[in-house]
């Protein structure tokens, strides 16, 4: 009976989202997503209780925004919440057929309706010698387990600084450990580089992927934009007018310093994409005169080789991060800008987008199977929405609609999140969503923010 209820609710969910599931197959493969309950942790001390609230909401956000699992709403939890392993041990020790000694302490209480949780995360926190310390545990609620050791998936100690960022950091690690069990790639250490005009001019900024610790990278007081990152998480390339003409600049995230880059003599050099080994780049340049064309070069701009010779605008090259053997870009070959695919020699050119409206901003998923892109499908020029396409079948699904102008999607390293820019009103902000279009929320609010790039944790 219990199992039946679960199956029905799953079927309903799947029925609604079946189209999305089909295309973003690898993201949400397997119909039965595990149901996970993590009740609020508690803490003692003067500062820790406040930080615990930050921890709890961060864990909930991370789990809710993951396509790998389904987070059970807290309103469905039993009233009594176990906090330490001993609470559960007491529950397990109680006779199963008798009345529960403390309802909520037995794993079976969580497996039962209305929570229906397959897994349970519990724990508590404290201040210890100036640090914020969290004991985090994770258990299965599978029936017929009588031993707590058997039920425990993991138990760890998480420490962070005794402030908000320390609490968020501990929470991200705890959530990442849970998601890793279900195949989720950790986002810990990954960053988002973006463009903000909050100082009065467009500069390159960096923040944690949850929107915390936003700080400025460039201070040129010019126009610095179009950032991209090397797959090893060490380099950021961008285009700046600081020297007069739009030119590429390379920046080390390790040292926080500018690196040498040989710009071609051209009216513009821009839009860098790195090869999977981070050693070469493809970019757009007008070095040969005529419309901007694609060039391959070493990461410092040397060893130039021309890729395209289309006689029309070629911009936004993106190298497949998995294979390193193909490029998608935006080209005017058929009139209005469309997304094209080609090999590293510029041959085997194939249009990916449907040819209607304008299609721009392609971005590969980490597995090199899908691209996210911005498309005006069905709308007037400039009214972009985010779409995801299976590059082989060219099937597309739409992730945003009626939420302003949405563009510049890039994928998180976990392949499960997409960060993008959404302009709802006069200013653009950075938003993040799940790769199936759910769980949208903004990461920025000051000034106008655009062109987000998800940077891998440094390897």
């Amino acid at each position: 009976m219990r199992t039946l209820t679960i199956s029905i609710s799953f079927l309903l969910t799947l029925g609604i989202a079946s189209a999305r599931q089909q295309v973003v197959g690898d993201v949400s493969k397997g119909a039965a997503k595990p149901l996970i309950a993590v009740p609020d942790f508690r803490a003692t001390g003067t500062t820790a209780p406040t930080l615990m609230a930050v921890f709890n909401s961060t864990v909930q956000n991370d789990l809710q925004s993951s396509p790998q699992i389904k987070f059970v709403p807290k309103t469905l939890y039993p009233l009594r919440v176990p906090q330490v392993p001993n609470d559960l041990a007491a529950g397990l020790a109680a006779p199963t057929n008798g009345p529960a000694p403390t309802p909520g302490f037995r794993p079976a209480d969580w497996l039962a309706a209305p929570a229906n949780a397959n897994y349970l995360g519990i724990g508590y926190g404290a201040e210890d010698r100036g640090l914020f310390v969290v004991f985090g545990y994770f258990y299965t609620t599978a029936p017929n387990i009588t031993d707590l050791q058997q039920a425990q998936v993991f138990g760890k100690v998480y420490t962070g600084s005794l402030d908000q960022s320390g609490a968020m950091d501990a929470a991200h690690h705890y959530a990442a450990d849970i998601l890793a069990i279900f195949g989720g790639q950790s986002l810990i250490g990954s960053k988002i580089v973006f463009v903000s005009d909050r100082t009065g001019s467009k500069e390159i900024w960096e923040m944690n992927w949850d929107g915390s610790e936003q700080h400025q990278i460039t201070k040129y007081g010019s126009i610095s934009t179009f950032p991209s990152a090397s797959p090893d998480g060490r380099l950021v390339a961008f285009t700046t007018y600081a020297t007069g003409y739009p030119a590429i600049q390379l920046f080390s995230l390790d040292t926080g310093r500018k690196l040498p880059f040989y710009n071609q003599r051209a009216s513009m050099n821009a839009f860098v994409s790195f090869t999977p080994d981070s050693k070469q780049i493809v970019f757009s340049s007008t070095a040969a005169g005529g419309p901007a064309q694609l060039y391959l070069a070493n990461a410092d701009g040397s060893g130039l080789r021309r890729i395209t010779n289309s006689g029309t605008i070629e911009v936004e090259a993106k190298i497949n991060p998995k294979t390193g053997t193909e490029i998608v870009d935006v080209s005017g070959r058929s009139g209005l800008p469309q997304v094209y695919k080609m090999n590293m020699e510029g041959a085997d050119v194939q249009r990916l987008s449907a040819g209607t409206g304008e299609a721009t901003n392609p971005a590969w998923s980490p597995d090199g199977v899908h691209i996210a892109f911005a498309w005006t499908k069905g709308f007037e020029p400039g009214n972009y929405n985010i779409f995801v396409m299976d590059v082989i079948t060219k099937e597309t699904i739409q992730l945003t609609a009626n939420e302003g102008r949405n563009e510049n999607p890039t994928w998180a390293p976990d392949g499960a999140h997409i960060v993008y820019a959404s302009k709802r009103g006069r200013q653009s902000q950075i938003w993040v969503m799940n790769a199936d279009g759910t769980g949208k929320h903004p990461l920025t609010e000051k000034g106008s923010n655009e062109k987000p790039v998800w940077v891998n944790a440094e390897k």
Binding site: I223, T225, G244, P246, M268, A270, A292, V330, G332, Y384
Partner: protein, 257 residues
């Protein structure tokens, strides 16, 4: 009564003179006969030029002056400077282009009489100072005469309706480079906000390049023209209206770089 006194005085004076003459013992000379009066009616003497004058005596170039004269006792009256034989009394309008002295020669049985009349032609002040004052500076040419070119959506070719503006720009820019051979003009390519910022950077580059090429074919030195694309980063208006989009799709000219 008074007249009698004067007569008496004259007699007395005459008496003194006679006494003195007597003392030198020279016989008194007979009084000289007065010269005969000329006879007006008979052209027997030299012609008489009563007047020969220009009115006004000073004119500016292209303005008329009037010569007037009156001659008597002449059988022939001539004025030089291609006027020739004229009647003894007359007037003649002249249009001297430079200061001219007219020479009148009257010939009669009694001889020749001559007279001059000069018409001074004043040259107007040279026009140079006025244009110098009105001559626009390079700055003024750049802001007032050099106009933006505009483009259709996703296009970078110069529109037919903008050909006149292009010609005007070419002429103004040629003037600017003649005034200052070291002057450099930057052509900025701009786009409206609708396309992607990335594509628009390349599109703005095309617009600037197309404008430069068109100006070179109209004789503007290409080495004085630089191009830069601002894509859609520097709009001149931000309303989501076609009119605003159209104004932003432009090639703009700025000094230097």
């Amino acid at each position: 009564m008074r007249r009698q006194k004067i007569s008496l005085a004259l007699l007395a004076a005459l008496f003194v003179v006679l006494l003195a003459g007597c003392s030198k013992k020279v016989p008194p000379a007979p009084p000289q006969a007065p010269a005969p009066m000329p006879e007006n009616n008979a052209p027997s003497g030299k012609p008489v030029i009563s007047y020969f004058a220009a009115e006004p005596t000073t004119v500016t170039v292209g303005q008329p002056s009037s010569l007037r004269w009156s001659v008597t006792d002449a059988t022939s009256v001539k004025i030089d400077n291609a006027i020739g034989e004229v009647s003894p009394n007359g007037r003649r309008g002249v249009y001297p282009t430079a200061t001219t002295t007219y020479h009148l020669t009257a010939t009669g049985p009694g001889g020749i009489a001559e007279a001059d009349a000069t018409v001074t032609v004043s040259t107007p002040p040279p026009p140079a100072p006025m244009p110098t004052a009105a001559q626009p500076t390079i700055q003024e040419i750049m802001t007032k005469q050099v106009q933006d070119l505009h483009f259709d959506y996703d296009k970078s070719d110069i529109r037919g309706e903008d050909q006149a503006i292009l010609q005007g720009d070419a002429s103004a820019l040629r003037t600017v480079f003649q005034m200052d051979s070291n002057f450099i003009v930057t052509i900025e390519g701009h786009c409206d906000e609708r396309g992607s910022a990335e594509y628009n950077l390349a599109l703005g580059d095309r617009r600037a390049a197309a404008t430069k090429d068109a100006l070179i074919t109209l004789g503007v030195p290409g080495d004085k023209l630089k191009t830069i694309s601002y894509g859609k980063e520097r709009p001149i208006c931000t309303e989501a209206l076609e009119d605003c989009y159209a104004r932003n799709r432009r090639a703009h000219f700025s000094a230097g770089q």
